[in-house]
Subunit: 262 residues, 2 copies
Amino acid sequence: MYHSGASGYTSPMESPAAPTPKGPGNSCVNCGVRSATVCAALGDPQLEEVEAHKVGDHYFPAGSDLFLQGTQSEYLYTIKEGWVMLYTLLQDGRRQINEFCLTGAFIGCQSDMMGPSSYSAQALTGVTVCALPREGIDAVFQRVPEMAVRFACIATKSMESAFATLATVGRGTARERIAHLLADLEARSQVVQTESSAGPLALPITQEHIGDALGLTSVHVSRTLKQLREDDIVSLRGHALHILDRPALMDVAGITPHQTQT
Amino acid sequence: MYHSGASGYTSPMESPAAPTPKGPGNSCVNCGVRSATVCAALGDPQLEEVEAHKVGDHYFPAGSDLFLQGTQSEYLYTIKEGWVMLYTLLQDGRRQINEFCLTGAFIGCQSDMMGPSSYSAQALTGVTVCALPREGIDAVFQRVPEMAVRFACIATKSMESAFATLATVGRGTARERIAHLLADLEARSQVVQTESSAGPLALPITQEHIGDALGLTSVHVSRTLKQLREDDIVSLRGHALHILDRPALMDVAGITPHQTQT
DNA sequence: CGAGCAATTGAAATGGGTCAAGACGTGTGG
DNA sequence: CCACACGTCTTGACCCATTTCAATTGCTCG
């Protein structure tokens, strides 16, 4: 049913990534997603510093890995378009998906900036990223402290998001976890995609992805989605996500922090 | 059995926090825990910038909150001594413990630096922290970008740690989760405490804390600990943690990332 | 000594996992 | 154009790890 011409995550075959060089037609100044990225708060002079350091855009076809756990990727990436998942493979072969990353996400950061990554990153759709060499990035941060600060904020946001996921997975039922994830993905896509605010959202993930992100079996994800569909709350068929009853969804997702009164 | 005179987390009554002013006797240069903190990589001139901004040490008795979710704490804290937990209260009253923080941890970071926190922080023992006013911290980061970067790395480490917890909680059995947590806490305390490398470690947490951190019931934590004790792997009685069979413990904790060969 | 919290233990209930068989859709090759 | 293969999603039946409910035992402290 679903066929996305441009993003086309359905088939893994895409052109094999010829780095688009940086240049006038691809300058940071014109970057359409800048406001969502680590570069958001930069003025023109600072932007030049960054531009001098970056190597241009890279393209990764759906299903390919941006980097693998245990290795150190040469670049830090900012997603310009597409979906990426961060995941960890366990020794028994199981997979834990840590996070779904959308446009604007800054990936490849590690606590030990020059050590190996503890997780892998895989393209869920065809993905275009802006690549910054890891080598020398600290010097850029030195010269552009605004960027270091913004980097800190983004890292913190990732931490908070990880805490939120932890809370759902640790304390919620399958129904709550799934509702929470779908609501979250929908909210985050809205921010980026200024288009169809009402229509169905195309999620480039399978039920197995959902399970691996939430600590559930794909079988049980299927059952729970059916239930949510029968309750007229959300419908996820194929890759199309329809939110039928937003208030009910928020209510089920429920695991929102308790509000401390002041 | 266990009675820690100095740290005394058993009783919540302690002196009510008279801020130790900064001064020659309490200078950053002499800070004993600096290497573990956000200030680690700073040279003397940078350290002066930070010193000028900080207000001195604060003390929080065991059981008191450093800040509450939904509010914005006036300060950012670096733990100089003691244990703190970061936790989120859900609307139904349940609690998810996000992280146990030890000496050197930098807490109070938020993605929206001037907004409310999405989690709370509570002292598990009497805690001494170095307090930096949130107001004006961005200016410090501007002037000392090394610190912003280090800050980002610390947040990233929290994220990675949350990912690791997520993997255990999402995929592991109660036995594995508990083994993982105990091994982790033990390893992290060793780094800080240069003393008793063999003796029992005093954990200032209850079985309910363990449950709330791992998505388990305290009842089931009790049962599982009993099992681990009977298997001569670890013993946690009262607050004393004895590791009886380290290899076995590591093996059970198991949920370590699969190593990608290069 | 009694209050209160933490830890135990038992019995019963259940959410989610496991195993296994089908259904559906889509792309491939004959 | 059809047949087949493969991946994803469904559904059923059974099982088990963990939860829930409830009662008891310690331990610490006032």
